[in-house]
């Protein structure tokens, strides 16, 4: 594969004594969109949190552009160009919309994204820029969370369940902005429970079940039957 940006090599992840991931391997090429699907508790969020540096990983279990980065704390991963849009959005409630975006860009990584570009992408945020972030609707909050991640000009953007709890029309609206985001050349890993949405957006798909990769392939090549079998383990 040309230009592998992210390589995960037989990653194990633990929460205390509980093992959440068992030897998960995954690759993401530069500019590629990879979807990670699976049922609740399959380890999707744990995988993203490990890549982002929130969950401890073995040193050589995660390679970013060839550099071993397992065990690097989250702020170190952010400095290396990995941004996470976390499940549940997790905006900073005591910050305004604009402050949430600015703090996303506080590392000052060079790149195409800045405040005006994010407001171009999500014009509604420009109108609400001085509003306290908790006063926004769920969809608008999700836009802030994505904008905050983009502000760091990441090479790799990790999106955890961005459709969760949002109306279908809002989800379509947000997914409709993905091509604009991708045109800047970053790689994207999306975790989704909404398989249709994930398959439509992704080049390749990994399906997790109980902490293991049970199915992988290009988005076009996987049949619904194969996915259901992998999803439910039947």
């Amino acid at each position: 594969m040309p230009d592998t940006l992210l390589e995960v090599r037989s990653l194990d992840a633990f929460y205390g004594d509980f093992q959440a991931l068992f030897g998960v391997s995954l690759e993401v090429a530069a500019g590629e969109v990879v979807a990670v699907i699976g049922a609740n508790g399959a380890g999707k969020s744990t995988l993203l949190n490990s890549i982002a540096g929130l969950v401890h990983a073995r040193g050589d279990a995660i390679l970013l552009a060839g550099e071993p980065v397992g065990g690097v704390p989250a702020y170190g991963m952010a400095a290396r160009g990995v941004a996470l849009v976390p499940e549940g959005r997790r905006l900073f409630p005591s910050l305004t919309v604009e402050e949430n975006l600015l703090i996303g860009g506080q590392l000052g990584r060079p790149g195409p994204w800045n405040l005006p570009r994010v407001y171009d992408l999500f014009p509604v945020l420009a109108q609400r820029r001085h509003a306290p972030s908790p006063s926004l609707s769920g969809g608008q909050q999700q836009m802030v969370a994505i904008g905050r991640a983009l502000m760091s000009n990441p090479k790799l953007l990790l999106c955890d369940e961005i459709s969760l709890g949002l109306a279908p029309i809002v989800v379509r609206d947000i997914y409709g902005r993905l091509p604009t985001i991708l045109s800047e050349g970053l790689s994207l890993v999306i975790v989704e429970q909404d398989i249709v949405q994930a398959l439509a957006a992704a080049n390749r798909v990994y399906c997790l079940q109980e902490g293991r990769v049970v199915l992988t392939g290009t988005a076009g090549s996987l049949t619904r039957e194969a996915i259901s079998a992998a999803y439910f383990g039947v």
């Binding site: 982002a52 540096g53 929130l54 704390p73 989250a74 702020y75 952010a78 400095a79 941004a83 996470l84 976390p86 997790r90 900073f92 409630p93 005591s94 910050l95 402050e99 600015l102 703090i103 996303g104 506080q106 590392l107 306290p132 972030s133 908790p134 006063s135 905050r148 760091s152």
Partner: protein, 288 residues
């Protein structure tokens, strides 16, 4: 007129209490750390100022130029070297460690400076006063003290809501994990917050030492005054901290006027009344 005078003195002393409180509330707000050694750090700053003024022969207010950066540096090192290791989901470890620190500072100062009361001489401003009208006068020192307190509070408020560092403080306070995801090293943010807190402590310590006698054992009482001002003010705004300090100062002044033995008690009673009537404080933190 006598009462107007007493209340005015109380308000001005309140500025000093607000400065005791501002550093405490900053630390608690950013990292949920209750610094039991806060009062003793105020006393440490006072002794530091004593050494600087005696060595260099300068005015105590000029010694701020040394004491403030020195205390900020101590704060940064203390947080990075010790307190960061105690922070976690449990509130108890930092409480115990700062309690231990309080004991160490008190006994260290006792060894170095003995239990004798000391005082900083500021060349007459302690006793100067400005006549505001018949029967109404304010001391120059309390006035400087209050003006500095307002400046410090305004400065902190500005820093919190208008600067990138303040944004980082608030974001880290909201959600530590998320703050790391946007690239903030929370240990460094905490160390900067402690440095800032002890810079304010330095100003408070020097003013305290000009105003009154001090010895190594007076720290814990200053901690209590600081706590009371923080809790009465609420955690939502630094201006609340100033209001809390002023209420405490006025209550103590009124208590002392009724009976000198009631000075401290009256402050505690005012605290209990506010706590009973408005437990969230006068300016509570707005929840999203």
């Amino acid at each position: 007129m006598e009462w107007a005078n007493i209340i005015l003195q109380g308000v001005l002393v309140g500025g000093l209490y607000a400065m005791f409180a501002a550093g405490l509330s900053l630390i608690f707000g950013v990292m949920r750390l209750v610094n039991i050694a806060h009062g003793d750090l105020i006393v440490l700053a006072a002794y530091l100022a004593l050494v600087v003024t005696e060595t260099l022969g300068i005015n105590p207010l000029a010694s701020l130029a040394f004491v403030v950066p020195a205390m900020a540096l101590i704060g940064y090192a203390l947080q990075r070297g010790l307190l960061n290791q105690t922070l976690g989901d449990d509130l108890l470890p930092p409480l115990l460690v700062t309690f231990g620190l309080s004991v160490i500072i008190q006994n260290g100062l006792l060894e170095l400076f003995t239990a004798d009361s000391r005082r900083l001489q500021a060349g007459g401003i302690e006793v100067d006063s400005i006549q505001l009208g018949t029967g109404l006068a304010v001391g120059t020192l309390p006035l400087i003290q209050f003006a500095l307190a307002v400046a410090v509070i305004a400065g902190l408020q500005w820093l919190f809501y208008r600067t990138a560092l303040g944004r980082a403080f608030r974001a880290t306070s909201d959600d530590q994990a998320m703050a790391q995801l946007v690239g903030l090293d929370n240990r460094r943010v905490f160390a900067l917050a402690m440095a800032l807190s002890l810079a304010v402590v330095a100003i408070a310590g020097v003013l305290l030492a000009i105003r009154t006698n001090f010895d190594p054992a007076i720290g814990p009482a200053r901690l209590i005054f600081g706590f009371e001002a923080v809790i009465m003010g609420g955690l939502g705004s630094m201006w609340g901290t100033l209001a809390g300090g002023v209420i405490l100062g006025v209550a103590q002044a009124i208590g002392a006027q009724i009976d000198p033995g009631w000075q401290v008690l009256a402050g505690h009673i005012a605290f209990l009344v506010v706590l009973a009537v408005r437990p969230q404080g006068l300016f509570p933190k707005v929840q999203g």
